[in-house]
């Protein structure tokens, strides 16, 4: 049952060729066998998973109606609250936090019949591009254990790529779904801001965070989107629009579709072998009947600096509540309230989180607000306008997802070098639009990802283009040998 898809397993389950319990046990066995090497999971919810699987099998036996993902084992990034199950954000400050409520996406997935295998590792509070910033341990890339899986949703990407989970959810603030999807050779979608409820997602940067799926193919991506997208009255930023059946876009046809190639996403900073692979994909799309044309998004170069004002500013406020008063870590050696706050936060947060809290605090300080935060908001508008203009002409845009393939642990010790990992993905978060990373070939036996960018609520177009490429190119279906872990 190696690397099975939701749509494949669904039929086996429906035909009772396999039970949910058997499938769950297989997944748990696999985790037991390989996860001491991969380290994708922070918490494995073995007993709960088997319990839920048995309930689903019983329902099936009784002929009761079952949700569309019934019996499918999955994993959640550890920044999504799961009632009664530890939710840590891979941070020491939340090492013991057990939420008394569940994130909307988790409720929806449970309602659809999906089975939670566990919570996946991440860069602490979703800050990072390699999962090296986890407060607990790094996760390894299933394609090469010496390399990072990308981040911040590295655990979810690695779990899906290695076959530990059939699918997983991650969160994407500046590329945290797409870049690890690219590094691990799986499909990753960052939906339109507001398309998936953030209720219960532990915030990093509220105006940028968005939950999305990691799957083994495009069809699965549409199936998971069907389960998690939709308006939620508990999230004021959730969009009250009509949500489509995402599988309805899975047609093998892109004739006449207009695809823009923004020149700013190519050239300097992008590894030539990666660019070559993306160019191959472009040629393939043209072959398949798409109309491809170069275009320009002139404010792209300002997106990264604007992001590193806006995201830290929001994070400095969002993470202020971890003060040791109500839950999580509390420093024991404090002699008054101020030292309790500062010692708790000093002991609980890692270096990257502290760096961003300080950046953001500074950017919001009286006297600096206009020069930094307000200016960054203006840049954000310009970046958004770039996309609006481009979408007057194009149905979608195509870029590399990341400037490189997975890199070795410790090789991006320079903070700015690490920040530049997200140069192709950050502008999309600033604009609030959807983007999908699709595997496309290998460089040095490590996956390359291409990024399809769509207009707001244009996930369907991205799924259609990705599906067509998938149906017509072997390069989109990658499987790691997992030799190092066997």
């Amino acid at each position: 049952m190696e690397l099975s898809t939701i749509h494949g397993l669904r039929d086996l389950l429906a035909n009772r060729e396999i039970s949910a319990e058997e499938l769950t046990n297989q997944a748990l066995e696999k985790i037991e066998k390989i996860d001491d090497k991969i380290k994708a999971f922070v918490t494995v919810t073995k007993d709960e998973a088997i319990q839920v699987a048995r309930e689903i099998d019983q329902k099936r036996r009784k002929g009761e109606s079952l949700g569309p993902l019934s019996g499918i084992p999955m994993a959640l990034k550890d920044n999504m609250c799961t009632e009664g199950i530890k939710t840590t954000c891979s941070s020491k400050i939340l090492y013991n936090f057990i939420p008394p409520y569940s994130a909307k996406v988790y409720e929806k997935l449970l309602g659809a019949g999906s089975i939670l295998l566990g919570k996946t590792n991440m860069d602490e509070f979703a800050m990072g591009s390699s999962t090296e910033n986890s407060g607990f341990f790094p996760t390894r890339n299933p394609w090469d254990l010496n390399c990072v899986p990308g981040g911040s949703s590295g655990g979810s990407a690695a779990a899906v790529a290695s076959g530990e989970a059939v699918f997983a959810l991650g969160s994407d603030t500046g590329g945290s779904i797409r870049q690890p999807a690219s590094f691990c050779g799986v499909v990753g979608l960052k939906p339109t801001y507001g398309a998936v409820s953030r209720y219960g997602l532990i915030a990093y940067a509220s105006s940028l965070d968005q939950i999305g799926p990691f799957t083994r193919d495009v069809t699965d991506c549409a199936l998971v989107m069907n389960a998690i997208a939709g308006h939620d009255s508990f999230d004021s930023t959730s969009a009250a629009v009509d949500y489509p059946d995402y599988t309805s876009f899975l047609s093998n046809d892109i004739k006449g579709m207009r695809i823009g190639i923004p020149q700013e996403y190519f050239g300097e900073g992008i590894e030539p072998e990666v660019e070559a692979k993306i160019r191959e994909a472009i040629n393939k799309l043209e072959e398949l009947g798409a109309v491809v044309e170069e275009c320009s998004l002139p404010h792209t170069q300002y997106a990264l600096p604007a992001y590193y004002i806006i995201a830290p500013a929001e994070c400095s406020s969002n993470l202020a509540r971890y003060d040791g008063v109500r839950y999580g870590l509390r420093a024991e050696d404090a002699d008054d309230i101020i030292s309790m706050f500062s010692r708790t936060r000093n002991q609980g947060f890692g270096i990257e989180v502290k760096r961003r809290i300080m950046l953001g605090t500074y950017a919001l300080s009286s006297g600096y607000y206009d020069a930094y935060y307000l200016k960054a908001l203006k840049v954000r508008n310009l970046v958004k306008q770039d996309f609006d203009l481009a979408f007057e002409k194009f149905d979608c845009l195509l870029t590399p997802t990341a400037p490189s393939v997975a890199f070795e642990f410790g090789s991006k010790a320079d903070t700015l070098a690490m920040y530049k990992q997200d140069v192709c993905t950050i502008p999309i978060n600033l604009a609030g639009i959807p983007a999908l990373s699709l595997p496309y070939g290998l460089v040095n036996n490590k996956p390359v990802g291409l990024q399809l960018v769509g207009k707001a609520f244009g996930e369907g177009t991205l799924l259609r283009v990705a599906y067509t490429l998938e149906q017509n190119s072997e390069q989109t279906r990658l499987e790691p040998s997992l030799e190092g872990v066997k």
Binding site: A205, S236, E314, S316, Y369
Partner: protein, 482 residues
């Protein structure tokens, strides 16, 4: 004070009486066991999001309209960031640069002079929890207990222009504001329960100067009395300081009710930088003009308008009309009674004299007493149709105030019915004349006054129940016959 003039502005926090909190469904009810009116949202647990309670917006707009503000077409919430254990998110969701209402005013009457006090803004925000320190202060305590029942209860903050010139004006402004908020029924406005809170910004300057002096902010003003006393004290303290050649330091001070002084809390240098920025978890508010118009049309008659109407249409004295309209409950009581029995001045007198006397003596609100408009109206009718005398009515009124019983029942129970039967009264008249020959002689000798003594004796014999008109007539008849 002489050569100095005080410049005062008030910041007033009003707790809105919505059923649920501002961003979640928890009840706002006062009291309750600690941490029982809480949920993940108002506890600010990781991952939760706020959703604005529409009633809060409605109440804030109503309050803004009632104090003559213009209502914003576009408004938003901001985060006010600071660390304190009573804040569950380490920021307060408030409004910074685009408040829901701005540019209002209130007219106050101080010693017969009408003064227009500008209102800078009214904005919405959430309340914090309540800390109970195990020692004197948070720093001197080994621990503090936190109760988050109040966290997320909706507030509006109303900031006045520095237009007030004395403690008396500040008190008049606050009383007017309280009355208006009470009229539009968006808050209980009870200072003692904390649903009305007030901070004062105070500075002094030489009379005639246009420049503002350095101000201090005085907190912990928990009653109308403490507002007035604290401002009086602080003005004098600043004058003394300046007279001694010292400078006023910009700082926050707290009012010590027992010692009757203001004490320094923290200086400007120690002041917080709140790092306000737009709340990304709430979408900006676009307020439809139609809705504002609808809310405006739905506002009740406000105290000033009602006062003028009672003077003009009901012929009440200005003072009485002012007192009756100063509180919604009193005004409602008057209105209801008047609708049952259209004796404006009579009702006004009973409220002004007997009712207020009893309320003040018991330190009660009218809603806490048992008297009803129906009872008062019925009692007034009983006076009119001579069932009881005005004197007896005072007893009946007090009984209604304490027990809420029907006036007829009280009169029957206590045998207070007025005696108008001439035969019955005649017998007593004859008896009193026979027992008081000296007074009768005095009367005959032309001392008209002595008739009063005889009437008093008759009333005493009848325990005050004799109809005074009948007594007077029969007594005079009898005396003239002698």
């Amino acid at each position: 004070m002489g050569q100095y003039e005080a410049v005062i502005g008030l910041e007033v926090h009003v707790e809105l009486k919505t059923k649920s909190k501002i961003f979640c469904g928890c009840p706002t009810e006062f009291g309750g066991e600690p941490n029982t009116h809480v949920c993940p949202i108002c506890l600010g647990l990781p991952g939760v999001l706020p959703v604005l309670n529409k009633k809060v917006l409605e109440y804030a707009i109503k309050a803004g309209l009632a104090i003559n503000c213009s209502i914003a077409e576009f408004s938003k919430f901001d985060r006010k960031n600071y660390f304190y254990p009573d804040l569950t998110k380490a920021f307060q969701t408030s409004q910074f640069d685009l408040p829901i209402a701005e540019h209002g005013h209130l007219d106050i009457n101080v010693n017969g002079e009408i003064r227009r006090i500008g209102i800078t803004r009214l904005h919405m925000e959430e309340d914090a929890g309540k800390l109970t320190h195990q020692g004197e202060t948070i720093s001197s305590s080994l621990s503090s207990l936190a109760d988050y029942n109040r966290a997320g209860v909706p507030l509006v903050e109303i900031v006045s222009e520095p237009d007030l010139r004395s403690a008396e004006e500040a008190k008049a402004y606050l009383e007017m504001l309280k009355a208006i908020i009470e009229y539009i029924d968006v808050s209980d406005v009870k200072m003692e329960q904390g649903s009305l809170r007030c901070d004062a910004n105070i500075s002094i300057r030489p009379v005639g100067s246009k420049e503002l002096g350095t101000r201090t902010e005085v907190k912990n003003l928990n009653s109308f009395r403490s507002v007035q006393r604290a401002i009086e004290y602080e003005i004098q303290r600043q004058i003394d300081q300046v007279e001694e050649g010292e400078r006023i330091i910009q700082e926050t001070r707290t009012w010590d009710e027992n010692k009757g002084v203001t004490l320094s809390l923290r200086s400007k240098e120690e002041a917080h930088d709140y790092r306000y920025f737009p709340e990304p978890d709430l979408t900006p508010l676009v307020i439809s003009r139609d809705w504002v118009e609808e809310l405006k049309n739905g506002l009740p008659e406000l105290p000033e308008a009602k006062k003028l109407r009672l003077i003009a249409d009901h012929g009440l004295p200005e003072y009485d009309a002012g007192v009756i309209t100063s509180s919604r409950t009193l005004a409602d009581f008057y209105d209801k009674t008047v609708s049952l029995h259209a004796d404006y001045k009579g009702i006004s007198n009973w409220i002004m004299v007997e009712l207020l006397k009893l309320l003040n003596a018991e330190n009660m609100e009218i809603s806490e007493s048992k008297i009803s408009p129906e009872g008062l109206a019925k009692m007034l009718k009983m006076i009119e149709n001579n069932t009881i005398s005005g004197k007896i009515a005072k007893q009946v009124f007090e009984e209604m105030f304490n027990t809420g019983k029907d006036p007829e029942a009280i009169v029957k129970e206590k045998g207070l019915v007025q005696i108008s039967d001439e035969g019955q009264i005649n017998a007593i008249v004859e008896q009193v004349i026979a027992n008081n020959p000296k007074s009768v002689e005095d009367f005959k000798a032309g001392k008209e006054k002595s008739i009063g003594f005889l009437v008093g004796q008759i009333m005493k014999e009848t325990k005050g129940q004799a109809n005074p008109g009948v007594v007077n007539k029969l007594l005079k008849d009898k005396l003239n016959e002698l």
